[in-house]
Amino acid sequence: MNDTVKRERQSVQIREERDNQNLIFESMVDGVYMVSKDHKLEFMNRVLREKFGDRVGGICYETFHGRQVPCPLCKLSKVLDGKTVQWEWHSRRTDEIYDLVETPLTNADGTTSKLTIFRDITERKRWEAEKVQEEQLRLQLLDELERSNNELMDFAYIVSHDLKAPLRAITSLAEWLAADYGDKLDEDGREQLELLKNRTRRMHNLIESILTYSRIGRSNEEKEDVDLNTLVSEVIALIDPPEDITIEVVGELPTIPFERTRMEQIFQNLIRNAALYMDKPEGLIIISCSEDDDNGDSNWRFSVADNGPGIDEKYYKKIFQIFQTLRPRDEIESTGVGLTIVRKIVRMHGGEITVESKLGDGSTFHFTIPKKGHRGGGVS
């Protein structure tokens, strides 16, 4: 007697809970339905009713899939064994993708039904697939870019190397002509021979500078702590500027982790340029360094300033391009590669180089090196 009352109370409780649940299911945007152990629909929420009509009492596989027999992927028996199953179902017919959660529910009469929640994830899946595809494409493009960059570097390296052999022969022949037949030539002939020798030297310099330029990306010199005070004075000694040019270093220069040869190349090119183009009787070149913390990333900011001829603003871009010079090569011997090399090194370390100048008064080259360091290499 007591047991019967208890069971009656329990079933009332289950019914009430079920009513509450159904109320929640009604307001969901996912499709929800319930079937008995013999595939009979016991409940369909609003979403499914709007799509299929109110088919409570019908058979699930007939109603939803137009099938005569249960679906091959049907989870009913598994769920009735007490298991909750979550799975993804791709409908080939409609090309829609669903996330399904199927779970057992105990009814008031003690039987078990299967509750299924359908979530349409077609859009999300499509978006994810697109993302993956975009990412793959991006990586592929980067890969190709890097490969073609490397090929270009290798090409420049190999070509310039191969050009050296015939050039060496031309140089030797010109020297021998001058040595063996110099006295048989007249003034014009000797001048032409001199020009020939001069041009072979120029070509040699060009080839060497291309090799230097392409080597920047190839070699893997180790970074070390470079004391720039020592380095800059060594570079100045190497350049050996004429007596009428004074080179000053303002204050202390820092010690920074860098590839030594690369840092030498930067200062060598900037200081040599300043000395080479100097047009004042009392030439002055000033090297300085400051720290700048403008945008959160702190940088070393170096300057090489001179009181030389200055550069017209319209050439600010051009001077950094390879093989570009502003003066005829017969006046000032230059390959036009120096600043290109400097810019490449600075950029590979995540910095930038700019020029500021007043025609007639001099130029200042500023370059930055991030303090945090930069992984270097990659695509520039």
């Binding site: 190397h161 050296k164 052999a165 050039l167 060496r168 022969a169 140089t171 030797s172 022949l173 020297e175 021998w176 040699h204």
Partner: protein, 131 residues
């Protein structure tokens, strides 16, 4: 003996040898095959030293070294490689095949004369086995 395909390079060596007063006879072969067939012919005089270029048509310097070693024709003839190549692999291969020296051809003729002087000095002083 000089194994070299470039006419101007042959001229360079001849000129440099003349300049440093080396009057020994110079046999010139323009590639590895020619050099090998000269050395294989017992009638020919054996050279005291071989100057070998690496980049040559038909049979390269390295291929020549391999073939010459297999035939035993290089017994007691020192080989000095004279090349434009600075490639590490070429150096490794050359020394692996028993060359006595590896010289990179300098750009200027004056420096080349210096290289030849050094080679001459060393191989004049160095004793070689008889035969």
């Amino acid at each position: 003996m000089l194994v070299e395909d470039d006419t101007v390079d042959v001229m360079t060596v001849k000129r440099a040898l003349k300049e440093i007063n080396v009057t020994n006879r110079l046999i010139v072969a323009s590639d590895g095959e020619e050099a090998l067939s000269y050395l294989m012919d017992e009638m020919n005089k054996r050279p005291g030293i071989i100057l070998l270029d690496l980049n040559m048509p038909r049979m390269s310097g390295i291929e020549f070294l391999v073939a010459a070693k297999k035939n035993g024709v290089l017994k007691s003839i020192p080989v000095v490689v004279l090349t434009t190549s600075r490639e590490e692999q070429d150096k490794v291969d050359s020394f692996g095949l028993g060359v006595a020296g590896y010289m990179v051809k300098p750009v200027s003729y004056a420096q080349f004369v210096e290289v030849m002087k050094t080679i001459n000095l060393y191989w004049t002083l160095s004793e070689l086995p008889e035969g």
